[in-house]
């Protein structure tokens, strides 16, 4: 029991100091009917590191890692290269094993990097203010809708058909149980004009994604004007944050709240989590924001320092009147994000985005040249939709049998929708190589 420092003689001395005969006495408030005599049955006893490691190697061996296969899946989680420095830094014990910076005098490290993170998020999104991160982009999007409901005192969210289906699903679930309505607009391709036409005096917010789930890149300035004319807020969601190195930021299109999934920067795929949500808004809405905020101040000696601030919005102060029940952020994932982005800097972040776009463009041209295959996007960043001559799900399975992870069949996230049955979503990042693209193209040719 390598994690437990107390020895039997320690335990005896401690019991003596307490005046108890046994540890059982300390549990005397537990009703007799619920006291377990022995340990819980049917579970193994403790093991050494070697055995534990072997157990996990056995789990790992039953998976196909993207590291070992041509890989082109995105749909809200993107495989980028993360510099070694990032993973080293987040494993420093001072960051890894610290907690919420409740005592600012001895957590300035955490507080300063979160302040830097907040600043980076405002710069990327083109917004005034950002919080210290959310669980992830998907839950952050729902929090944005709830915030818009608070700001506008309305209860109808208008959702673009181009929003990630699982993000939409969370909004719908939350609306059902927290009492607001959500309406989905037309499918992505013709959705923008439809949204502009449908915003009215009952709409609390319109939720759009850029690039959209299907990869399209759009200007939402006119939609923002329509929202503001009707007294609604525009929420722009970005699931691929690297796109902000190349694209006009949502803040310049009139967005009121911007939510991003920040996983692409600093955080690996991790089978879907933990990720990091970026959440930014305009100054005037700051007191309606969910989550933690770090602010600058001075200490008793007049030196600059940082603290958690405006916490009267939060559950531990306001309880049932809080802006959200959230009591944590994604601190360590935010650190990974901010370290990676600092390494990239202005020049590196822009180049990374260019590289993604260039590689995606190359593959789009080559896939589009396959017989019977059509790329549906006029515009995209690093992900695009391909219409195949047959259903996409079995095609992806057939590719997987060849150890090629060749994109996402859209039907997996929109089951039962016949119109998407043949659609394949393909993502290409800077990690793509000719050694991966060639087998994908050959495999597609063969399977089709």
């Amino acid at each position: 029991m390598r994690y437990l420092p107390l020895t039997d003689s320690d335990r005896r001395e401690m019991l003596q100091a307490i005046g108890a005969r046994s540890v059982d006495e300390l549990f005397r408030d537990v009703p007799a009917s619920a006291r377990l005599g022995a340990k819980v049955g049917g579970l193994p006893d403790h093991q050494g590191e070697l055995e534990v490691e072997r157990a996990f190697q056995a789990y790992a061996a039953k998976n196909v890692s993207p590291a070992a296969a041509p890989f082109f899946i995105g749909a809200g989680a993107y495989r980028h290269h993360v510099p070694s420095t990032v993973d080293y830094m987040i494993q420093r014990g001072e960051f890894l094993t610290s907690y919420t910076p409740y005592q600012p005098e001895i957590t300035q490290g955490t507080l300063q990097y979160l302040f830097e993170f907040q600043t980076q998020v405002t710069l990327l999104t083109g917004m005034d203010v950002a919080n210290a991160s959310m669980y992830d982009g998907s839950t952050g999007t729902t929090e944005a809708v709830l915030m818009a409901n608070r700001v506008t005192r309305r209860h109808k969210a208008l959702i673009s058909g181009g929003l990630h289906p699982q993000y939409r699903s969370i909004i719908e679930t939350t609306g059902k149980w927290e009492g607001f309505e959500s309406v989905v607009g037309k499918p992505d391709a013709e959705g923008l004009e439809d949204l502009i036409a449908r915003v009215d005096k009952e709409t609390s917010c319109v939720v759009v994604q850029n690039p959209s789930f299907f990869g399209h890149v759009r200007d939402f300035s006119r939609l923002a004007e329509a929202c503001h004319a009707a007294g609604a807020l525009l929420i722009v969601v970005v699931t691929e944050v690297v796109s902000l190195g190349l694209l006009k930021p949502p803040g310049e299109m009139g967005a009121d709240i911007v939510v991003c999934e920040g996983q692409s920067i600093g955080n690996g795929l991790g089978f879907g989590g933990p990720y990091v949500g970026l959440f930014a808004t305009r100054d005037k809405y700051v007191r309606q924001m969910p989550g933690r905020l770090v602010g600058e101040t001075v200490d008793a000696d007049g030196r600059r320092g940082f603290v958690l601030t405006l916490s009267t919005r939060e559950q531990h102060i306001r309880r049932e009147k809080a802006t959200s029940n959230i009591c944590t952020n994604a601190g360590l994932c935010a650190l990974a994000f901010t370290v990676h982005l600092t390494l990239l800097g202005e020049a590196g972040f822009r180049r990374l985005a260019e590289l993604n776009h260039a590689k995606a463009s190359e593959l789009a041209d080559r896939i589009g040249a396959l017989p019977g295959v059509k790329v549906l996007n006029d515009s995209f960043f690093n992900e695009f939709t391909v219409a195949l001559p047959k259903p996409a799900a079995p095609v992806v399975e057939a590719l997987a049998a060849k150890r090629i992870l060749g994109g996402l069949p859209v039907s997996r996230l929109l089951p039962g929708d016949k119109s998407v049955e043949n659609l394949l979503l393909v993502a290409v990042t800077e990690t793509a190589t000719e050694a991966g693209m060639a087998p994908l193209l050959a495999g597609l040719k063969e399977v089709l």
Partner: protein, 526 residues
């Protein structure tokens, strides 16, 4: 490039005023206490910490939406980045440095094997939407953890997707709302009962779901007042949200009666599992009559706290609530694992989806590694040691500090500020003085049921000699405070930390939430 030319920002700039006066240094540093600028005050345009190839020229497909102008990110080399964050790290207290007695937070040891296995390529480098045939091991791993959680709690089902404890609360309370809905009772059951000692998340969660929160008073023993609870129960009550062991560090001794009363009234029993670490292997919450409970993996199962996240909050559910679990569900069909990702696939009456993908896999991996390392025997021993240690701290200090309640505590011990009466020293001052002794303070002013609360949780991870030193430090502080002559000293604490007391009022009154080019907050503050 927006890096400021004013390199003195935030620096002391000469002789420092106040009690920590020391000889001025050229750099503004004090030995190894380095004054670290913001990244935006460092670097040079054109510097970069990452080498990337020149992108090939392609026809732009950005729909005319190319970004114009600077983003405003600074340019730093790799060594500068390493030094910057290393220096920042050295301003943090952490579990790896010593006793971190934050009550209710469970700052136990974070083993590094957990980090290692979470980073195995076949686990850490997997896409959540890969074909299910290519992630069989990942699904098996999630199910293995689910099995442990169900077995340790004595509950038949578990929802794995919630991202944190508070998110788990939302999940459990939605399941309760869904179950009431199915019975046609959601409209009339609009009240949720929560003890005064509850975490703030409980009332916040209930209120978000449209319930009215009614507080239940505590009795003089720090437990729920059963008579008051029974009086509050009625046909309008949906659920009680109860933390057990509670936030006073006490086991709710009448919990079986509470559960019965709640169920007799047609309501559900939500248990906040924040303190499950005290009873793992000794008590199964399922045997107490609860309907659902979230488990904070970062507390009970030692996934790293990470400066405030990420966490994970799986929710165990009774048979009555299991059909309402949100998807995805991990299901075994024959010898193959599948993921039921939507309502049609799940069957039952799921409440919907709460998070993209399948949950906090990285946390599942770490928690399972911790569980396998400890085993059933070690988990039980850990709970016992945590309870023993907390009782030892309380017994060793009860003659000089004032325990809030009589009798044994569980994993944390609660003091009020009675022992500081008329000394001029507040709970806050006392906590700040602990920093100078080299400790992170305890949780202060929570729970709200006692005056000037100090909630101390030593955890099972501390050796007895370290706990003894910690007790010695608290004893010495209590003696100094009670001497009646040290109030000014306490008010000036901490003196030896990277920063002294920070002006939180100023931060809230004039919020500066980001760096801006040319900003100099210090001057503005003056």
């Amino acid at each position: 490039m927006s890096a400021s030319q004013d390199r003195s920002q935030g620096r002391a700039g000469g002789i420092v005023s106040g009690g920590a006066a020391a000889p001025a240094t050229f750099t503004g540093n004090r030995g190894l206490q380095i004054e670290e600028p913001l990244i935006f005050e460092m670097g040079q345009p054109g510097r970069c910490g990452v080498d990337l190839p020149e992108p090939p020229k392609v026809k732009d497909r950005l729909n005319g939406l190319r970004r114009t102008g600077e983003i405003g990110l600074p340019g730093l080399s790799e060594p500068q980045v390493v030094q910057h964050y290393t220096r920042l790290s050295q301003k943090n207290y952490a579990i790896d440095m010593g006793v971190y007695p934050l009550g209710s937070c469970t700052m136990k040891h974070n083993p590094r094997i957990n980090e290692k296995v979470a980073r195995l390529p076949g686990i850490g480098d997997l896409h959540p939407l890969q074909p299910v045939s290519t992630v069989q091991g990942a699904l098996e791993l999630i199910d293995a953890l689910a099995h442990w959680l169900k077995t340790l709690t004595g509950m038949p089902a578990v929802a794995m997707s919630p991202a944190a404890g508070a998110h788990g609360e939302m999940c459990g309370m939605m399941a309760i709302a869904a179950a009431l809905d199915a019975k046609g009772e959601r409209g009339k059951r609009r009240v949720v009962l929560a003890p005064e000692s509850a975490h703030g998340t409980n009332p916040a969660t209930a209120a978000a779901l449209g319930f009215t929160v009614k507080p239940i008073p505590a009795n003089e023993r720090g437990r729920v007042d059963l008579a008051a609870l029974k009086a509050a129960l009625g046909p309008d009550v949906a659920a009680i949200m109860l933390t057990n062991p509670n936030t006073c560090g006490l086991f709710e001794s009448e919990i079986v009666d509470i559960a019965k009363a709640v169920h007799d009234a047609g309501a559900y029993f939500y248990c906040d599992g924040a303190n499950f670490n005290a009873i793992v292997g000794r008590v199964r919450p399922g045997d107490l009559g609860i309907d659902c409970m979230h488990i904070n993996l970062h507390k009970t199962f030692s996934t790293p706290h990470g400066g405030g996240g990420p966490g994970a909050g799986p929710v165990v559910l009774s048979a009555a609530l299991a059909p309402y679990a949100p998807y995805p569900w991990i299901v075994k069909q024959g010898d193959k694992w599948t993921i039921a990702e939507d309502g049609a696939a799940v069957g039952g009456r799921p409440l919907g989806r709460l998070k993209a993908f399948h949950g906090q896999m990285g946390m599942f991996t770490r928690a399972l590694a911790y569980i396998l390392s400890h085993g059933a025997d070690g988990l039980k021993q850990a709970a016992e040691d945590a309870v023993l240690s907390a009782n030892y701290v309380m017994a060793s200090l009860k003659d000089i500090m004032t325990p809030a309640f009589e009798g044994p505590c569980m994993h944390e011990c609660l003091f009020d500020d009675g022992f500081l009466k008329d000394t001029g020293v507040s709970t806050l001052d006392f906590a700040k003085a602990m920093i100078d002794e080299g400790y992170h303070p305890m949780t202060m002013y929570f729970p709200l049921v006692v005056h000037g609360a100090m909630l101390i949780e030593p955890t099972e991870s501390q050796a007895k000699e370290d706990v003894d030193q910690f007790i010695g430090a608290l004893r010495s502080l209590a003696e100094r405070a009670r001497s009646g002559t040290a109030a000014d000293d306490f008010k000036a604490a901490p003196r030896f930390s990277p920063r002294r007391r920070l002006d939180e009022t100023l931060a809230a009154r004039k919020p500066v939430l980001r760096w801006r080019p040319g900003s100099n907050f210090k001057q503005a503050a003056e």
